[in-house]
Amino acid sequence: MGKEIRVLSPTAILGYGFPIESFKKGLAKNPDLIAVDAGSTDPGPYYLGAGKSFTDRTAVKRDLKLMLKAGVERKIPVIVGTAGGSGANEHLNWCLDIVREIAKEEDLHFKLAYINSEIDKETLRSYYDKDRVLPLEHDEDNYLAELDEAVRVVGQMGVEPIIEALKNDADVIIAGRVYDPTVFAAMGIMKGFDPGLAFHMGKILECAAIASDPGSGSDCMFGTLGENYFILEPLNEKRRCTTVSVAAHTLYEKSNPLKLHGPGGVLDLTGCNFEQLDERRVKVTGSRFIPGEQYTIKLEAARLIGYRTLSIAGTRDPIMISQIDDIIKAVRKTVEENFDDIDPSDYSLIFKIYGKNGVMGDLEPLKGVISHELGIIIDVVAKTQELANTICSFARSTMLHYGYPGRVATAGNLAFPYSPSDLKAGEVYEFCLNYLLIVDDPLELCSIHYEDM
């Protein structure tokens, strides 16, 4: 073979930005592909549930415009994975809208492919009926119950739908939810390169320059995939890849650095070797892909659990601080008694105490209060926004005026930094459906569409 696939990864997440200088250096190295991961589950369940992007439209458009212009003018495919942050249809459409806008404004002409990965509930039920659902880390099977509650469900696609779009000569591919490394790995795998090396290179490139030293998610990285190796190089002179910076990134956000599970199999890095080629480049060999006996697609879903109202306050009174746990108990009891006609399961009232256990909650090993001031967030999630407002407002006023034993500061117990003191935060979602679906064909749960721009 003797050939190479050269991949430019501009930024860790589309919309996180990158220096033009680094991007130009990447283009000067004649890449075969420009690819970017646009999504993550890290910001929590809200964005998937609400159908909104966690990245800003103006920032995404800035990054996409540079990538599309460079790619279309030079005939280099541009691939975006997990469009709109979560990859459901609304997220995908949001991203496509930006792509079409750029194409019009910049007079760019290309063949666009977009791939849906949202799965409807009827299909999801039929997999259960056919016994093609596998639980992940679950003690019991709640699949159908969680499916009923899920607002939207996406399946993490593998490389196959992207390869299909590339084979159909798509210049720009905007994919719904895909396994993060796929957008970088698909072209190499299509051309017969080792899938272990292609996926491992993709796993590093998906975070762009984070795997360099000093690391950054807002700078470009260049990957070169060869017959039995890949080479990584940051494009900013300030950064270098070291064997440790690259190997350490292999650990990042994963439960096991040696076995990375993805659609269609496992990336086995047990025999992997990292070699320092020169001051700024690292060569990796020995990554292996072991196909699974069954091809599985991981589901991601979110369910609506209520509506939130928050009140943010602080206390600087040492007498109050010494009794904070008792005061919270008393406020909670007053709320329950005052609204004894409301079913307690219709709302949850949570006190977050910063300066005590606000960051670690139940995991906090230091149980005693040590701070001279405490931040207090009254966090209410209820069946309706109105009920959340009611409970939060009442808990706030009760705590503000609560007459705890030994109180000398009778004007009010809480310092509010804001007016209004109660903030309506809207819908609250939770992740659900931690399951795999077994498929016969990696393409069976997605649909690929083409459009000439």
Binding site: D42, A247, S255, K352, L363
Partner: protein, 108 residues
């Protein structure tokens, strides 16, 4: 035998989500020599992680040594899925503090 603080030996001690259902801790040591000694000390074990976070041992998914990155990695079941009711740290990036007090028996 003297003891060395983990913060003197490690360049990185961090926590992070590994997907919405797991929390993972990374120790990356300053040199291969330090890493080997910490590894051989066998101090960082599932039992230690369970004790530091006051969780049942079954909730410690793994403790893995990773030579290429001179790293030790521990992963636990998240106290709740990321962003669920009662969440205190959606990204899981500030749950590392109990690890900073670990001490390793040390012979020069």
């Amino acid at each position: 035998m003297t003891k060395r603080k983990i913060t003197e030996l490690a360049a990185v001690i961090r926590s992070k989500n590994a997907g919405p259902y797991q929390l993972t801790f990374d120790f990356i040591f300053k040199s291969d020599e330090i890493y080997q000694k910490v590894k051989e000390s066998n101090v960082i074990t599932p039992e230690l992680i369970a004790r530091l976070y006051n969780i049942p041992i079954k909730n410690v998914i793994s403790v893995i040594n990773y030579d290429p990155a001179r790293a030790i990695k521990a992963t636990i079941v998240r106290p709740r899925p990321s962003g669920a009711l009662g969440e205190t740290d959606v990204y899981g990036a500030q749950q590392h503090a109990p690890l900073l007090d670990i001490e390793i028996p040390w012979e020069e």
